[in-house]
């Protein structure tokens, strides 16, 4: 047993773990990494629902969702870098990538996506940024000058061009967001040595859970920020988001269960080990928490919120609570896939156990810090990019 990994053998008589499998190398950091990228992809999809699919009721959060995505995107690589044994060599992944590796593409996909997202934000916010630049002074004026890319032209002609560009960026942004997260799923789904991960459903599940976590993050933060700043909450928008959340979660949950069901139904020689894993070390985190509490309850409750006519107060309150539950569900799912998958030894005769350290390099405290950083950054971004139309100086003139 290695104390830094906190893994130990579960002591059943027939339990045999390959000696090197006692270490759980992909720790909490690799749980957070798909969690954060998922939130990014999901939030972007919310914004695209308005910008590309013209779901008008989502207008109040359409810009906010982009800034929210950026706040998380900025820290998507933080857990990865903290996890690498040699972070100083991380750029090798982009400089000398190995074309056969399912991991080597991440740097490219991530960077391309970051460029699209940043451009999308700058173009959508351009009228606002121009207006703010006029009012600002000192450093802020300089900052807005850079962000407006030196153009103050707000003529109808210029805005039409802006609009075309943003529509185009949003449109290519959707496949990119899907690729980003489907791809993260494939990093796991392509590991044939691990029967829990190696399923073609993995990218699908990752993508669906990403959408779910992004939408839930938007609902929760929208309601909390608006309430905290004493601003009215657009209930039409919240109700629409809840409907989308429910729809995506139906697909997500069904696919998660289908995956388990097909393992059980096909019952190949892996199944015995997988079953022992689900009923053993993953019993509480998977069966009880992920499925029993944080999936079944939101699954039903979101349906009720979407279908039954309820008062605004109830929808707002329960919408936020259920969004928080969904965010936990997705985090649990990441944990159960990433950590759970490693607990099953490739001996298929036993499993290790894993308890994350508290103050260790990849422990709980660092994880909390990493999850706090995007929130702090979001607050900083709010000082530059007004989230809401009601505190936007350019809103009358804006055509998007």
């Amino acid at each position: 047993m290695s104390p830094e990994h906190g893994a130990a053998v579960a002591t059943a008589l027939t339990n045999y773990v390959f000696p090197n499998d006692l270490h759980v190398h992909w720790s909490l950091m690799i749980v957070l990494y798909p969690y954060i990228t998922g939130i990014v992809a999901g939030a972007f999809i919310v914004s695209s629902l308005y910008h590309v699919f013209h779901i008008k009721s989502l207008k109040p959060v359409s810009r906010y969702a982009l800034v929210f995505a950026l706040a998380f995107l900025a820290f998507a690589t933080a857990p990865l870098l903290n996890h690498l044994g040699h972070p100083e060599r991380a750029m090798n992944m982009m400089l000398t990538p190995s074309p056969t590796s399912a991991m080597a593409g991440f740097g490219y996909i991530y960077s391309a996506y970051a460029v699209v997202l940043i451009l999308e934000i700058l173009f959508i916010y351009r009228p606002t940024l121009v207006a703010l630049k006029k009012k600002a002074r000192g450093g802020m004026k300089l900052l807005y000058g850079i962000l407006t890319m030196g153009s103050d032209n707000l003529s109808p002609e210029a805005l039409r061009v802006d609009h075309k560009i943003t529509a185009f960026l949003a449109a290519i942004g959707i496949p990119m967001a899907c690729t980003l997260h489907g791809y993260v799923g494939f990093i796991f789904g392509g590991v044939k040595a691990n029967p829990m991960w190696a399923t073609p459903l993995m990218p699908v599940i990752f993508l669906l859970s990403a959408s779910v976590s992004g939408i839930a993050g938007i609902i929760l933060s929208y309601v909390v920020i608006r309430r905290y700043t004493n601003k009215p909450i657009d209930m039409n928008c919240v109700r629409t988001l809840i409907k989308f959340l429910w729809g995506c979660f139906i697909l997500d949950f069904v696919f998660e269960m289908l995956e388990l069901f097909s393992h059980a139904y096909m019952a190949t020689h892996h199944w015995e080990a997988l079953r022992d894993l689900y009923l053993g070390p993953l019993y509480w985190s998977f069966i009880v928490a992920q499925v029993g509490i944080f999936s079944v309850i939101p699954f039903i409750a979101l349906g009720i919120l979407s279908l039954v006519k309820l008062s605004d107060k109830i929808v707002m309150k329960w919408g936020s609570v259920l969004s928080a539950m969904i965010l936990i569900q997705v985090l649990l799912m990441r944990w159960n896939v990433v950590i759970g998958g490693q607990l099953m030894s490739k001996s298929e005769r036993g499993h290790a156990v894993f308890h994350p350290g508290f103050f260790t390099k990849e422990g709980i405290v660092v994880s909390i810090i990493i999850m706090t950083l995007p929130v702090v950054f979001l607050w900083l971004l709010s000082k530059v990019f007004p989230f809401w139309l009601d505190d936007d100086p350019a809103v009358e003139r804006q055509s998007t």
Binding site: E4, P19, T100, I187, V191, K346
Partner: protein, 269 residues
């Protein structure tokens, strides 16, 4: 009467293992003296023709490793030699030896305390039923022809040489651990000292100098064999071309290991 004989046998076996262990530990210490430190030509070439090779890579050879599990006595000498050769940090294993015990209810019990480093000097006493069969299985890198570790390494730090070795460039490895996840045989680990991936290399540095891998050298019963399949006089060529019961681990993974097992049993994973 039966009991007495059993006791006699097991006492004899223990004594034998102890002797072997003492002897081979001494032997393996000799072998870990870096080959360059001694005059190389004073040590006989163990793999014919290797020292005539010029370039950095070996050419025109196809190496194979054979483990004969009908011979292995579980003394752990190979593990000791390996640990000495590479200063493997505790709790990580480039090679290890598993003990299989099958009882008369067909239950299979496997263990490998400390990777077999201490040798199996005592029989398992915690089993509920009489033992039907028992054997040892040494494990090491399979040097797959289609290695998953090479496939997944994002920076090409894990690579395959022309002569079929799968090696790690410790100066390129970013320590992401993807290869550790991808290897179906769990022979890889992240070395806590270098923070890079690490694994058995079939002692490439020794082979390059015409010496056998350290573990092959110390095995007292020749359960581990290494050689060039292009050399039709080599022992490995002969074994693989004679009617033996030979198999590889997890053939359905499609990795095509170059590590072959003589007398492999279906219980072995």
């Amino acid at each position: 009467m039966m009991k007495g004989i059993e006791q006699e046998i097991s006492r004899g076996r223990r004594a034998f293992i102890k002797k072997v262990l003492g002897g081979t530990i001494a032997g393996s210490l000799l072998l870990v003296i870096p080959a360059g430190a001694m005059e190389l030509d004073r040590i006989p070439e163990q793999i014919p023709g290797m020292r005539k090779e010029k370039g950095p890579f070996i050419t025109g050879r196809k190496f194979a490793f054979i483990v004969d599990i009908t011979r292995c006595i579980g003394c752990g000498s190979c593990c000791v030699a390996d640990k000495n050769e590479y200063k493997v940090p505790d709790g990580n294993y480039r090679t290890w030896v598993e003990r299989y015990v099958i009882d008369d209810h067909d239950n299979v019990y496997v263990d490998s305390p400390n990777g077999g480093l201490d040798g199996y000097q005592e029989p398992r006493r915690d089993l509920p039923h009489p033992v039907r069969d028992t054997f040892f299985v040494p494990k090491l890198c399979n040097m797959c022809e289609h290695p998953s570790c090479v496939q997944v390494c994002p920076v090409g730090a894990t690579f395959q040489t022309e002569d079929g070795f799968v090696l790690i460039d410790y100066k390129r490895c970013v320590g992401c651990g993807y290869c550790v996840q991808a290897c179906p045989y769990s022979v890889r680990f992240i070395n806590p000292e270098t923070k890079t991936a690490d694994k058995c290399t079939w002692c490439y540095h020794r082979v390059r100098k015409g010496l056998l891998p350290a573990c092959v050298n110390v095995c007292p019963v020749q359960a581990r064999k290494f050689g060039d399949l292009n050399d039709h006089g080599s022992e490995v060529y002969k074994i693989l071309h004679q009617p033996h019961v030979i198999s590889v681990l997890k053939p359905d993974m499609g990795n095509k290991p170059s590590l072959h097992y003589v007398g492999l049993r279906r219980e072995v994973v």
